[in-house]
């Protein structure tokens, strides 16, 4: 048995009865929606019409929100309904990033994720979902798509149907009869955020018209949609940055010892261990503060959902923190150089702590820009970069200055080459989906362009590269290069995280 919906656009008159019935049934607060009717107006007068699209959770066969949920609050039932348990949810909003359909919201009163759950509480009592019952036109049909006798199966057999965003390969079980291209494809109609009854979308970057797309021969405009705020706020790009610093803190000292034979780490091991722990504490603080139920953060560790990279990442962060703490304590209390046995294990722990986020972002299937296969490499490269920058900024009295500078220049140079190449790959290579291309355009040509070109590229890559090439033996130039790299990387994380969430999925 697999429950699904067929929405028959030949019948739908866009009356919003479904939206209101759902709100009443499920006590959905103001400002958020489990189902809504998107309107698109297409054509030029008098050859114009409005299209209606009832929009909601697709109850995917392979739901990305379930895979990413760190605590098993989102789950798929045996009958195919994707349901959720607010009492488990920690409010991490990862499911919102995983959903390529903008179907999930955080309940403003509970601080927990919610969405259409096919009125599972009614289904279990033998009743149809509320929207199906209320619909004046019987345009929403619910039933078992495995049962050939059901109305949904018969409609599916007889009519040609479409699902939203099939390229996401999630197997939506909501099928539209006579879907309208400009409504079903996000971004196919211009969306300026000003709708029939007012302006709801205050996120200017989301309202950017589809960049670089050939102008449609027939103009289309989104006349009504609901607001979807960017799920993750400033804490997440800053977390990227602090975590890079924490995770990479020993990387360049270890590499310099291996590649150049420069044992600079022995002089600064305690300091680096301390700095790593400090940045790790800030990282964890940022992660917890971005939860809408921060008091439940520990459930990631006590009640982990093993497929979630958020849960896996939490354990990797704990592992790295323990290694780093041991390294710090041993280097502080133990005899000189004794921490060397812990150096490489800690560096490897740092690589894991750095790279796991790439797999977490890979599970964020609602953000196509983040699906780049270069991301694990990029996060490790960022660690090398920040590690070099930290060495470049260390006071020269702490270690033999030429050794310190050599290690710093080595780290910065290697990091800049790797970082520069991966940024080039992420933004200049053709994107696999239109959504990824549009997110990249938001960053390189849209509202993030100044932060990206001046901050991330100018201050973060070009300036440090020039300083290193023309003044590599000057301590001042290396110091400035380190500072530029750190500032530029923060700008880059900002663009990547905020811009990556900038493309609407509905």
């Amino acid at each position: 048995m697999r429950y699904g919906f067929v929405i028959d656009n030949r019948r739908c008159i866009g009356c919003h009865a479904c939206s209101v019935a759902c709100k009443a049934e499920n006590r959905v607060p103001l400002g958020v929606y489990r189902t809504w009717v998107k309107y698109v107006e297409k054509g030029r007068f008098p050859n114009t019409r409005r299209y209606f699209q009832v929009t909601r959770c697709n109850h995917c066969e392979d739901p990305p929100c379930v895979a990413i949920c760190p605590v098993g609050a989102m789950y798929q039932r045996g009958d195919g309904i994707v349901d959720f348990d607010p009492s488990r949810c920690i409010g991490c909003k990862a499911c919102m990033q995983a959903c390529p359909y903008d179907a999930i919201y955080v309940d403003p009163e509970q601080g927990t994720a919610a969405k259409c759950h096919y009125c599972a509480h009614r289904v279990d009592a033998g009743m149809e979902p509320s929207c199906v019952v209320v619909c004046p036109e019987h345009a929403i049909v619910a039933g078992d798509i495995d049962d050939p006798a059901s109305e949904v199966s018969q409609l599916l057999e007889r009519e040609s149907v479409r699902v939203r965003r099939p390229e996401q390969e999630t197997g939506p079980k909501l099928f539209y009869v006579e879907a309208e291209e400009t409504a079903i494809v996000p971004g196919a109609a211009a969306n300026v955020g000003t709708y029939m009854w007012g302006t709801v979308n205050e996120q200017a970057d989301r309202a950017l018209p589809p960049a670089g797309q050939p102008a449609s021969p027939v103009p289309a405009l989104v006349a009504y949609d609901v607001e979807h705020k960017r799920p993750w706020d400033w804490q997440v790009p800053v977390y990227f940055w602090t975590k890079s610093i924490a995770a990479g803190i020993l990387a360049v000292p270890a590499l310099a010892s291996l590649a150049l034979g420069v044992e600079v780490w022995e002089h600064v091991d305690t300091l680096l261990g301390f700095l790593g722990l400090l940045f790790m504490a800030v990282t964890v603080g940022l992660l917890v503060s971005d939860l809408s139920r921060p008091e439940r953060f520990f459930r990631v560790l006590t009640n982990p959902q093993p497929r979630s990279w958020l849960a896996r990442g939490a354990f990797l962060l704990v592992l790295y923190s323990l290694l780093l703490a041991a390294f710090f304590l041993w280097s502080w209390i133990g005899p000189d150089g004794a921490a060397s046995v812990l150096l490489w294990p800690t560096v490897i722990g740092g690589v894991l702590a750095a790279a796991y986020t790439a797999f977490l972002f890979g599970q964020c299937e609602g953000c196509d820009l983040w699906q780049t296969p270069l991301l694990p490499l990029h996060l490790v490269a960022q660690c090398v970069l920040t590690s070099g920058a930290v060495l470049a900024l260390l006071p020269h009295s702490l270690a033999p200055p030429s050794d310190l500078r050599r290690a710093a220049v080595f780290g910065l140079g290697l990091g800049l080459v790797l970082h520069g190449l991966t940024v080039l790959g992420e933004f200049a290579l053709p994107h696999s989906t239109d959504s990824a291309r549009r997110a990249a355009a938001l960053i390189t040509r849209g509202p993030f362009r100044i932060v990206f070109w001046i901050g991330a590229i100018g201050i973060g890559v070009a300036l440090p590269a020039a300083l290193l090439i023309f003044g590599w033996c000057s301590p001042l130039a290396v110091g400035f290069a380190g500072a530029g790299v750190l500032a530029g990387l923060l700008a880059f994380e900002w663009c990547f995280v905020m811009g990556g969430q900038g493309v609407a999925n509905s």
């Binding site: 009356c15 019409r49 509480h121 019952v133 619909c135 006798a149 109305e151």
Partner: protein
Amino acid sequence: MSEFPRPGSNLQSHPPVERWDDWVENDPEAWPRKVERHYRLIPTICFNCEAACGLLAYINKETGQIDKIEGNPMHPGSRGRICAKGPAVLNQVHSADRVLYPMKRKGPRGSNQWERTTWDEVLETFGSRIRKAIQEGRGEEVMYHVGRPGHDGYMERVLQGWGIDGHNSHTNICSASARLGYVLWQGADRPSPDHANARCILLISAHLEAGHYFNPHAQRIIEGKMDGAKLIVIDPRLSNTASMADSWLASHPGTETALLLAMAKVILDFGRFDARFMKDWVNWE
């Protein structure tokens, strides 16, 4: 009919009538924990428009409050389906701004200061002032204004009994002109055409998704359309209805009469009408 199964489905659309006195549902707010809530389902009528669709009020037996409102499947017009205004009746019932008692102005007019009063005082005050006005020959100073006159005929008779032409409602600027036309033409002010079996449906600024009567009519208009009826819409604006039309004519507001006369002329001039039907059924020679 007391059960409401959906053909080909294991799910029902509405609770069976036998269980309306004690209907059990899972509390949606406790879900996925199964917490049973017992309801008494009371049939009632929606008066957010004059279509008067059938509603079922779900009365929580524990609190005695209405928890939600659905359509009444036994209602022949709305057939258990309702528009957005139906479930939203809940907001009217539980609104924090709802006036629960008769209120009397306290301060100066416009100061928005009110105090609670009794129905006795209201009736006393109004009755004596109306009576005084009538006795002193100032009957034209009395006006009865109501949002929606749903008490067909009663208040008209009262006002006539007083010898007063003082009935006023929003209908004057809303459906009055259309309804006068219907009365003159076919003797009923709120016709309910057989849309489901029509071959061609003409809507003039009448809507599928908004305004009066929309739900029962829209159900049958779309049924007719699914069976192949053509839908023609005359509407100055791009409404949802215009969007569903096979043909949409965007008239200039106020020119509809001229348009209809022109259409009538063409029909007459070119003999595009069923003369036999007109003779037999509307005595039209």
